[in-house]
């Protein structure tokens, strides 16, 4: 049963999720001004699913229950499903100009589904059935699930078991008759606080000596022993200013990351999907990363669409829209953005069925997609800053623009002086010009830069992780043969 956006927010209120921020417990985190914009972004995934103009992308028919479910909890049944996933992400990027946080769950479902099938095939375990039952529960209740992979990792030169502190990777600390007890943490977890559930996966391929770290399981967000510490974002406290609006750049929407701590959390067996099968940790990681690298060919493109629009508006409002170099910069931004989309669509179109039956993306093309995402958004936002002008970071505050304090010799107020000197083209008001410049500021170096810049760099794996996969998948020996044939080398 699909939830409405309003029902989603109410469902969060029913959870006893433990959240900490600025050294204090946040009791009403749903309405907290720093957190609520990120909840609105997730809410959009529910709202659009109810709208016939968007339902074709936002929903799908479950292969498990036969019911219509939100596409974020769907198992991809075809390359068409893979393409529609990317299109859905572009749509949501356009509607929120933010990370909408629900992709990690979707990507985890699809990688867990195929990996548990293959674990069972080798070991005769029953993880796949457990996982399908769990996913049916998620689909039936239209839940948001934090697909959690990244461990804190400590000293990167050491394996999990070699760390001075063994908790730096999530691990099994006790196996009981009725389940397992886990300890550790997952770092910079997107949308974790806004999720009903957490689906945990290992973060790297493992060796046998590290089998205690080969663990995958699901728990509710308010399970005993789980708590989250909110990740702060650049300029986040602007949201705490009274009446904050224009200076936020994007008042309504935002992203969210947190440190998720597992302080000896008990997990019953029916929620355990991997327990010491160390030789499958790499498969799960690789498949999740592949899907998530595909995702970025949709979500960042949608945000890019908004940035391109903002840059074009800034040009209009600055009176610079007819300058040939400005037009060319907008063409370049569009070219870069659509190149990312091409990669997202291409790795989807070249997808293939797994042994379990759901569809996996083409791994080489997905890694090329994400490698481009580590670069192009930086160039897109650099060009937006270029077009916007330095004024986007030197303007007075919203309060100055609204101030009645008389400061001029003829009784002019601060507000009047600001409106006089920050006026641009007569096509619009000073306020509208300030609004679009603040939007660009926010995405370039404010709260939204977390999602558009650094997340583009490191989310779904840092650039070198993709280069390793590209090297593995590059088929260089076959290319050498091609060259030999053409050059007449025997």
């Amino acid at each position: 049963m699909l939830m409405t956006g309003a029902q989603y927010i109410e469902s969060l209120r029913k959870l006893n999720t433990r959240v900490y921020m600025f050294g204090e417990k946040v009791d009403n985190w749903v309405d907290h001004p720093i957190i609520s914009p990120s909840i609105n972004s997730v809410k959009m995934t529910y709202d659009l699913a109810q709208d016939p103009e968007y339902a074709d992308l936002m929903t799908a028919k479950s292969d498990i229950s036969g019911e219509v479910v939100n596409r974020f909890s769907h198992l991809h049944q075809s390359t068409d499903d893979l393409r529609k996933k990317v299109k859905m992400q572009r749509l949501l990027g356009q509607k929120t100009a933010s990370c909408f946080q629900r992709c990690v769950g979707m990507d985890a479902f699809n990688s867990e589904f195929s990996t548990t099938y293959e674990i069972d095939k080798k070991y005769g375990t029953e993880y796949h059935k457990r996982f399908v039952d769990y996913l049916k529960f998620v689909q039936d209740n239209d839940l948001v699930v934090d697909g959690a992979m990244t461990d804190p990792k400590g000293d990167r030169s050491k394996s999990p078991g070699q760390q001075e502190d063994p908790d730096l990777y999530v691990r099994i600390v006790e196996k009981r008759e009725d389940g397992i007890v886990v300890r550790g943490a997952k770092a910079h977890q997107t949308g974790s606080i806004n999720s009903h559930e957490h689906l945990i996966m290992p973060t790297i391929a493992l060796k046998e000596e590290d089998k205690a770290y080969a663990v995958s399981f699901a728990v509710p967000s308010d399970v005993d022993g789980l708590y989250m510490i909110y990740g702060r974002q650049s300029c986040d406290t602007r949201k705490l200013e009274e009446g904050a609006d224009i200076d936020l750049g994007n008042k309504q929407f935002g992203g969210q990351e947190a440190l998720v701590v597992f302080d000896d959390v008990f997990v019953p067996w029916d929620r355990v999907f991997m327990c010491e099968e160390w030789d499958f940790a790499g498969m799960l990681v690789e498949r999740f990363a592949g899907y998530h690298r595909q995702s970025y060919g949709g979500c960042k493109v949608g945000v890019g669409d908004v940035i391109i629009g903002a840059a074009a508006l800034a040009a209009d409002y600055n009176g610079a829209n007819k300058a040939s170099h400005v037009k060319d910069k907008i063409i370049e931004m569009t070219h870069l953005n659509e190149t990312l989309y091409c990669c997202g669509i291409a790795c989807s179109a070249e997808g293939y069925p797994t042994e379990a039956g759901n569809y996996q993306i083409d791994m080489l093309l997905a890694n090329v997609c994400k490698q481009n995402v580590t670069r192009f958004p930086y160039e897109i936002v650099r060009l937006a800053e270029d077009i916007a002008g330095g004024v986007m970071v030197t303007m007075p505050s919203e309060k100055d623009f609204k101030s009645d304090l008389k400061v001029g010799k003829n009784g002019e107020t601060i507000g009047e002086i600001c409106h006089k000197y920050f006026k641009g083209s007569p096509v619009t008001s000073t306020e509208n010009r300030v609004r679009i410049l603040r939007f660009i500021e926010n995405v370039a170096l404010g709260t939204a830069a977390v999602g558009y810049r650094t997340e583009s760099m490191h989310g779904a794996g840092s650039p070198q992780a993709q280069r390793i996969m590209i090297a593995r998948q590059g088929n260089i020996e076959a290319k050498k043969e091609l060259a030999k044939n053409i050059a007449g080398i025997k």
Partner: protein, 93 residues
Amino acid sequence: MLCGVKFCGGCNPRFERGKALEELKRHFADRIEFAHAQEGTVYDVLLVIGGCTNCCASYCEYETRKGNIKLWDGSHVERIIDELEQMLKTYNK
């Protein structure tokens, strides 16, 4: 006449898909009932509205008596009006 309507998901539409439907609704006022397509209902015709040339909406699951017509550009509205007018002539006979 009952016309089912199926929109694509609207990831990057080149025109306002909703407005195109409104235009058709206005033109046919009381003569054609437009309803968002649902499985289990048999429509006289299904109108598929896409936001670009790909027109990627899924629609195989819907039943119709006279098939599907597709609109993927704002300029197609007149053509769709002509096609529906022709269908109405047959329908009313």
